[in-house]
Amino acid sequence: MIDLLRTRLRQGFRTIPVPQTSADLPERFRGRPALDASRCVDGCRECIERSPTPFIRIGPEGVPEIDAGSCLFSPEEVASCPHGGIWYTRDHQMATATREALVSETGVVHLARALDEKSRRLFGRSLRLRSVVAGSCNGCEGELVALGNVVFDLSRFGVQFVASPRHADGIVITGAVNTNMLEALRKTYDATPDPKLVIAVGACAISGGPFRGSPEVHNGVPDDIHVDLWIPGCPPHPLTILDGLVRLLGRMEMGKSVKSVE
């Protein structure tokens, strides 16, 4: 017992404050992608031909745009521009309220804002979520699990993962939504009482991720399921997920008061 206490003391207090700045992330961390179209050479479409994913495309205005929801955050995607016009920032914040908000001509996304007053009253202090994994690689799940550890400590915001959809206020979907899980996903969605939130975590759930186009997957959450929060990444850093959830709940202020002793 004494040993246990001694070891416990040595561990100290490890929970980090939220909001966190990206300054603590390592130099090579690949956060939100950015685009500077002024570097495009006339008529050059090389990025579109060379990128392994459709995260860069030509928008309706005829200028290139970035879709953070299709990005796998791989070095190859940004290297597809031979003119250095695309790069990764170290910004970890990129959760949005709509699918469209993930697309822009600069890479800057419109971050999710707090739920309206009524929903906030319902979910703001206690949000219970059910995880549905549907055709993933288990990377996103690894980061969802990490949110429960002492460093990220999701439960301090009143967010908890529960064992039954009937006990849940919403579901978190990960994976490209494959044929073999489609029915189970729908059943879980239906079993969650209204009003409910849906959170899509990871490139797979948003756009099919690396599995996009496979005949066995449906390229992300089906259109008829309304998604309230889109969290890009492959997988998203736990801070990206945490930031999205805290934003949604309108708890940014509260986050500030949680201080680390280090």
Binding site: D3, L4, T7, R8, R10, Q11, R14, L25, P26, R28, F29, R30, P52, T53, L72, F73, S74, P75, E76, Y88, S131, V132, V133, A134, G135, S136, C137, N138, G139, C140, E141, G142, E143, A146, G148, N149, V150, V151, F161, A163, S164, G175, A176, N178, T179, N180, M181, A184, T188, G209, P210, F211, G213, S214, P215, E216, V217, C234, P235, H237
Partner: protein
């Protein structure tokens, strides 16, 4: 015609496809079953449709001799059926279920031809009509008896866990049998690997199992490099080795935490949980991603490990080592923890040998089986990490093997990071040789990963066969549960921590 063991093949080598001995189906069956009886292991066994509209499929077996660091290969050409190897070779059972499903070829006399992943045949010879599949029916084995009941769990589980279905036949709390129905994570990975260009394919390989990014990318690149005759620099090999061991550290430490959590030993669960994160952060410092995505690439590594970063890594690992020791000491010494882990979920060594289990699950039954040691490649040809074993085959033994491996991995990384060879991190990796077969094995943290790639006459990929260690080991979990209490299932399950995604592909 030479025999299967005379081919010029070893880990990360390529050979001409037409030099693979071709035998008649009945002969092939005897060759493979005979080799296994003589101590070889089935590393991979798969079907590959042949073109030209004849409706034929090549069945290819890759056999491993762990004592002689040797690989064997043999193939046969079949129509819509062939005599099953698994009639008298249990190791082939799961592979032949896969062949039946992927290629629409029936292994006749297979003892239990149930669906494996429930998907339409996607490697069926062009001239053949695919047999119908049911995605939702699975003929579960049912034990009859007055007080025997069935318990069904999944596919959606009560935590943040991948989907899968477990069906218990139980008598009271006692498990008579456990049947595991998987396929819920099936995404069609092999087809993607075969059709995508190389830049995208490596991203798919990194997503076979998201907790084994380095392992699968390493095996993927190993096969591609063998076919392209690309030689990595010693520096790249060393950095890959460091990354592979960091991945092992993160996962083993995470598993120790999960095991501690399941026996309600909260302090250790919390410590280990945080330390897992510390290892992931080390991978992120190196590669920009917590799981090491972007690092392992054909020709070497996408990110170098500069001296400053290397010495910081050593410092952080030394600190980690100092913090880990007292915590695991607490866990492995505490009698209440021991009482919960010992004697639970025993895998008999004889089962392990017969069914060819791999990784820590095998080493916990005192089976010395480790690709780094048996079929050394890359940095492991020069630096040997002693194989960690335990003997009881129970949850405690599997936890202990992990803890031993954690210590040895830290030792290895620190040594490598202190004395990285000079040179480039990446060299060009060109076109693939036509009409060849390459095998790349990697000791991922769960055990042996195997990628087999066969090219066509212009050097495009004809077949990319992936074998995750979980493919072998799911049946080890079923074995371990027999005779145990249902309530011990979560603990037992965590002690294996197998991949659904890696199995389901």
């Amino acid at each position: 015609m030479s025999s299967f063991d005379q081919v010029d093949l070893s880990n990360r080598r390529a050979m001409p496809w037409n030099a693979v001995p071709r035998e008649r189906p009945d002969q092939f069956r005897e060759t493979v079953a005979g080799a296994v009886a003589a101590g070889w292991r089935i590393a991979s066994l798969f079907g590959m449709p042949e073109g030209a509209g004849a409706g034929e499929t090549s069945i290819v077996a890759i056999l491993a001799n762990d004592v002689r660091a040797q690989l064997g290969a043999v193939t046969t050409l079949v129509g819509d059926r062939y005599p099953a190897i698994s009639r008298d070779c249990s190791q082939a059972e799961v592979f032949e279920r896969e062949i039946a499903e992927q290629c629409g070829v029936t292994p006749e006399g297979h003892p239990g031809l149930t669906p494996l992943r429930r998907h339409p045949a996607d490697h069926i010879a062009a001239a053949r009509v695919a047999p119908p599949v049911s995605r939702d029916e699975y003929p579960f084995h049912r034990i009859e008896g007055d007080e025997v009941h069935q318990v069904a769990v999944g596919p959606v589980h009560a935590g943040i866990i991948e989907p899968g279905h477990f069906r218990f036949n139980a008598y009271g709390e006692r498990v008579l049998s456990l049947e595991i129905a998987l396929g819920y994570q099936h995404r069609g990975v092999e087809r993607l690997l075969e059709t995508a260009d190389r830049t995208r394919a490596v991203l798919v390989a990194e997503s076979i199992a998201g907790d084994t990014v380095i392992g699968h990318a390493g095996a993927f690149c190993g096969a591609i490099e063998a076919l392209a005759r690309s030689r990595k620099t010693p520096r790249a090999q060393s950095i890959r080795g460091i990354a592979l061991e960091l991945e092992r550290l993160a996962n083993h430490i995470g598993d120790l935490g999960a095991i501690a959590g399941d026996v309600a030993y909260a302090p250790a669960a919390a410590f280990f949980g945080r330390m897992r994160g510390e290892c992931l952060n080390l991978l992120m410092t190196l590669s920009g991603n917590r799981y090491g995505r972007g690092l392992v690439r054909p020709g070497g590594v996408g990110f170098d490990l500069p001296p400053g970063m290397a010495s910081e890594m050593v410092d952080r690992l030394e600190r980690l080592r100092a913090e880990l020791a007292p915590v695991s000491g607490l866990m492995f010494r505490s009698s209440s923890v021991q009482a919960r882990l010992e004697g639970v979920g025993v895998v008999p060594r004889e089962h392990c040998e017969r069914l060819g289990f791999v990784g820590p699950a095998a080493r916990a039954c005192e089976v010395v089986r480790d690709v780094r040691h048996d079929h050394p490649y890359g940095i492991f040809r020069f630096v040997q990490i002693p194989v960690a074993t335990a003997w009881a085959g129970d949850v405690f033994a599997r936890a202990l093997v992990r803890w031993l491996e954690v210590q040895r991995s830290i030792e290895f990384i620190c040594r490598q990071a202190r004395s990285l060879p000079i040179g480039d991190a990446m060299v060009p990796c060109g076109e693939l040789a036509p009409n060849e077969l390459a095998v790349a094995m990697e000791e991922g943290w769960r055990g042996e990963i195997v990628h087999v790639v066969v090219t066509d006459s212009v050097g495009n990929i004809r077949r990319h066969k992936v074998k995750d260690p979980s493919f072998h080991n799911w049946s080890a979990l079923a074995t371990a549960m027999t005779g145990n209490q249902i309530s011990d299932f979560p603990l037992c399950n965590k002690s294996f921590n197998l991949s659904y995604a890696g199995h389901d592909l």
